[in-house]
Symmetry: C2
Amino acid sequence: MDKSILFNKLVSFSASVHRVTYELTKDVKPDSITHVQYKILENIAVSQPVTPSEINDCMQMSMPNTSRELSKLSEKNLIEKISDDKDKRKQYIHLSSDGEILMNEAFASIEARFLERIQNATPEDLKDIERAMDILQSKLFSP
Amino acid sequence: MDKSILFNKLVSFSASVHRVTYELTKDVKPDSITHVQYKILENIAVSQPVTPSEINDCMQMSMPNTSRELSKLSEKNLIEKISDDKDKRKQYIHLSSDGEILMNEAFASIEARFLERIQNATPEDLKDIERAMDILQSKLFSP
DNA sequence: CCTCTTATTTATCAATTGATAACTAAATCA
DNA sequence: TGATTTAGTTATCAATTGATAAATAAGAGG
């Protein structure tokens, strides 16, 4: 097995993933928030509660910028901060009810596009897709 | 097969792909160009020659902004433009020799990280990975 | 030839993002 | 207790990016 050929496949594969991700998520972000803010909300949505520090690790931002964007999200009533009882320096951030609504709508619209995309797939296709994602997840994309 | 479960898998799968892509490509961009400029060079590298119009379709930019960034890349001697003989409005853009060197180095460093990542994979693992990518490419990520 | 469309450029401006320094407040440690 | 580290904030500034209007210049169609 030539690993260089595999690498080339990975390049075109990840280009495809990025393109499809783009198509599925296109325009789901409301105009009231910026792209970075939407990404932060996505991050919070899938792993809430999170601390600001965790956010800037995942998102590759600096603390001051993360803090600024979180403040803006807070002003827009999309997130809530609660400070840790034990260590009062820490904060736990989670979506507010408005934030939950916003992200639920976003995910619902992404899912609808996904279902459209796989509407013609047979049950065996779906099984194949599921198995293929499991394989890559465990053999190539696991930490 | 529950399609909603499959959708959830896709969400976490694409998050993994994006994270690994980030790790593989981290810091390969030289400081002399911006992120967007690097992305444009990547785009040109994999499908040269391209026209400015094709670039802004792929990259979701507006023509004026594409034009500006291409001019900057041209000033930095990373790309060359040649206009079509038949239709003189059109231009074909390709990497200059400096641009080729830059992108070759970038890809070499990405490939080295990839090889490191799969160094402990068995030949069967590699076959599995390859097959899984083929399946997803054809059943989920094809246009 | 005259209009219309296509491909690209130039210019300009606002918004977003990134980077840095300096700060507060709470925890840890010695 | 006092020094140091950790978590997060505030303020500021430059760079990047996005958006829009208006121009050029070549092809296409009647």
